[in-house]
């Protein structure tokens, strides 16, 4: 049964009556029940694109913050890629000092509204949480991400945010390539140091994967626009429709255009396919294409968008990550009657955030686990009408530490699908590497950088995010953007 936001709020009010204002012992704090994230009713939300998770109410955020033990050793901070002072902001949230809480987060993270929504907290800050450890269940850890989201949203909606201060002009010019999470965080820190910063984006809208990849129902685009506006308010110039490597080479930007340093955060951006038979039939899409049509080009709004999206009834999504969940849930919202995640391992090995998997299930997405695609079949017109799958079992752990799926001979079967979405990750985009002599990459095409400074093999050129990490997360990309900006600021000071 779906619990409404009003019901959840009433429960939180009761908790506050019982616990608020008292000097609580850790044992009592642990007894406070975890606050569920209010969400749109699944039956309703599969028919709209609006955000699924509604965010805590004020009572809920206080109740959840009371669960925090304020541990001396602060294990959660070590779990955060940008080392936010988590206990400090939670303590402020518990007191209702939301502006203060938001300011504490902003010291370390530029995009809390976004990270509160898309970070995989269960494998980061919430993994070592003492509350979760005591209750022997990571899902019962303090909901750090939900509290973060609340205070960030509160500060934005109540206009209590502070635009980061910009230092005195240094006269140095810096280019930031790509306007996704890595580029945004690098640009902010470079600008704060007083450099003139120009950010280059290839698409007609800035935001990178936050705009073309992550759907509206998980990350409203108005939030991304707001964060980008903070950058422009700080004086960062954003140039859209500019493809570095094509419109201009890195060498020309350093030479002719006079940039003193460049940060490249161009993303992974080259979808991987399985290389199985039938993958180029009509009705097979990369998740990037499917999501870009829906998100960036607004194809979900069929009455208005001039970009078409495929009419699907039975959709198979290959993959088990967040992107696979996003694609599956988008297909469902676009009217597909049956959407199935096909994953060759089990749910335990799925890289997607637990919340996304749970939301997908609530929305009626089916999960065909321990199945691997062998080939895609089509009708006489080349339109997909089935996928041959083979059943797997789990064998020994592989290099990633996850148990390797082993195909069971003789278990092949053709399943009835009219659409296939391939969401098995991305390779590095080759454009910059192909047009930049001396830029070293590894065998997957990821830029090779100095571990500490993130400088590439070219002096003054730094890189971070997926172009270095392979397909990773928003927060890791942000962390690298900041790490590179720090080294760049030091480098620029020597010029």
């Amino acid at each position: 049964m779906h619990t409404t936001i009003e019901e959840l709020d009433a429960q939180a009010q009761d908790i506050l009556i019982e616990y608020e204002g008292r000097d609580l012992k850790p044992r009592e704090r642990i007894q406070i029940p975890l606050q569920e994230m209010p969400s749109q009713d699944p039956a309703i939300r599969v028919k709209n694109m609006e955000e699924v998770a509604l965010g805590y109410t004020e009572a809920q955020v206080k109740a959840e913050a009371l669960r925090c033990l304020q541990c001396k050793n602060k294990p959660c901070i070590a779990g955060c890629p940008v080392a936010i002072d988590i206990p400090a902001f939670i303590a402020e949230a518990a007191e209702g000092n939301f502006a203060k809480a938001a300011a504490i987060i902003k010291e370390s993270s530029l995009l809390p509204s976004i990270c509160g929504r898309v970070c995989p907290q269960e494998s980061q800050c919430q993994l070592p949480c003492t509350v979760g450890k005591s209750l022997k269940d990571v899902d019962l850890s303090v909901s750090i991400g939900r509290i973060e989201r609340f205070v960030a949203d509160w500060a934005r909606e109540n206009k209590k945010e502070t635009t980061p201060e910009v230092g005195p002009a240094t006269g140095k010019r810096v280019a930031v390539v790509g306007s996704g999470p890595a580029g945004i965080s690098a640009a902010a820190d470079l600008r704060r140091a007083g450099h003139s910063v120009v950010m280059f984006e290839a698409l007609h809208k800035a935001g990178g994967v936050l705009v073309y990849g992550i759907p509206e129902f998980r990350l409203p685009k108005t939030i991304v626009e707001h964060e980008l506006k903070t950058l422009t308010d700080m004086g960062v110039e954003i140039r859209r429709n500019y493809l570095v490597g094509k419109t201009r080479t890195i060498k020309d930007m350093l030479g002719k255009d006079g940039f003193d340093a460049i940060f490249i955060g161009s993303g992974a951006g080259l979808p991987r396919f399985l290389n199985i038979e039938g993958e180029n039939y009509v009705g097979v899409f990369s998740a990037n294409e499917y999501l870009t049509r829906s998100n960036l080009m607004k194809a979900y709004d069929r009455d208005h968008s001039r970009t078409p999206i495929y009419n699907s009834h039975r959709v198979a999504v290959f993959g088990g990550g967040n992107v696979a969940m996003d694609a599956a849930r988008t297909a469902k919202r676009l009217g597909a009657e049956n959407v199935t995640i096909v994953y060759r391992r089990t749910e335990a090995e799925m890289p997607a955030r637990k919340e996304e998997v749970a939301h997908a299930k609530e929305e009626g997405i089916e999960f065909l686990l321990l199945h691997a695609p062998l080939k895609i079949v089509a009708d006489a017109k080349g339109r997909v009408n089935g996928v041959e799958l083979i059943t797997c079992e789990l064998g020994e752990p592989d290099a990633s530490g996850r148990r390797r799926p082993v195909e069971i001979p003789g278990s092949e079967k053709v399943h009835d699908f009219d659409t296939v979405i391939v969401a098995i990750g991305n390779d590095s985009n080759p454009l910059i590497h192909a047009t930049t002599d001396g830029l070293e990459v590894n065998r997957w095409g990821n830029f090779i950088v100095d571990e500490e400074t993130l400088e590439t093999s070219i002096k003054g050129v730094y890189a971070g995010g997926d172009i270095v990490l392979g397909a990773a997360t928003v927060i890791l990309a942000m962390g690298q953007g900041r790490q590179a900006a720090k080294a760049m600021n030091e480098y620029l000071a020597t010029l």
Binding site: A202, K246, F273, N280, N288, N429, P430
Partner: protein
């Protein structure tokens, strides 16, 4: 940015626009394309091959056929208007070098992107024969421009209303029979490029084609433009748009181009309503 400097109607449904875009003009090479988006929240991204460019004027020239809703709307823009979003140059340039005897073939609107290649091939010292074709005389474009560049020009129309009544493959085959051709470049409808490739394969003549597969971003990110070349999946936007015509899986390309045909036909019909281009003219 991206201001329309001049506009000309080359035929009932074909328009030429010169657009101010100094950075693209400087970087572009023959064979490359741009993607434009008209600026509205719901507007699509349209790939168009660059027909010409002038570094001095800081401009590029696009020649396009009003075939769909978006190209119709583009055709309604006037001198002084701006194109909100213009990205380029995209794709790999044509491999222009000294081949010897080169035949450049353009069909329909494909004559436009062929023009800078003809120019380049001439500049590289090749003997260049140009074959241009269209369904009918009204749709023929750039005849004078091509005549000025080419060593010889052959004009064909499907209905014989102008030039020779033939498909481009007929004069091509005769040329191949008569002398050793070193390279053929063909740009036009996929079916034309397919039959050009089949024709030249008989004579073992290296053939370059430019593929117009469906794409969104044009930077390699979406993979919608993938084509099968020599049995391998390639992305037309970053690996192409030009490929060896003898290695392209034409049937797959034609299938993939039909992906949204049902949706597009509906939109095409709708787009004539309210636009000044009459049904039947485009």
């Amino acid at each position: 940015m991206n201001t329309i400097l001049s506009k000309e109607r080359l035929s009932a449904e074909v328009f030429r626009m010169e657009i101010r875009a100094p950075e693209i003009a400087e970087a572009r090479k023959p064979g490359q394309f741009i993607i434009l988006q008209m600026g509205g929240e719901y507007d699509e991204r349209i790939p168009l091959t660059i027909a010409d460019a002038s570094v001095e004027r800081g401009s590029i020239t696009l020649i396009f056929q009003a075939v769909g809703e978006s190209t119709h709307r583009l055709a309604l823009l006037e001198v002084g208007d701006t194109i909100a979003n213009l990205l380029g140059p995209l794709g790999m340039p044509t491999e222009i070098k000294h081949y010897g005897k080169v035949v450049c073939i353009g069909g329909g609107i494909g004559v436009a992107p062929l023009y800078p290649i003809v120019e380049g091939m001439k500049r590289a010292g090749n003997d260049v024969t140009v074959i241009i074709g269209a369904r009918t005389k009204e749709l023929l474009i750039l005849e004078d421009e091509m005549r000025a560049q080419a060593d010889r020009l052959i004009v064909v129309t499907d209905d014989g209303s102008y030039g020779r009544k033939a498909l481009v493959t007929e004069p091509l085959k005769e040329l191949c029979q008569r002398e050793k051709i070193d390279c053929v470049v063909a740009i036009g409808p996929p079916v034309m490029m397919k039959y050009v490739s089949l024709t030249t394969a008989e004579f073992d003549v290296h053939t370059i084609v430019s593929l117009n597969s469906i794409m969104i971003d044009g930077t390699g990110m979406c993979g919608g433009c993938r084509v099968i070349v020599d049995g391998k999946t390639k992305f037309a936007c970053v690996n192409g748009p030009e490929f060896d015509g003898h290695l392209v899986d034409w049937d797959n390309l034609l299938l993939r181009l039909s992906t949204y045909r049902d949706v597009e036909e509906e939109a095409h019909h709708r787009c004539h309503i309210g636009l000044e281009i009459k049904e039947g003219e485009a």
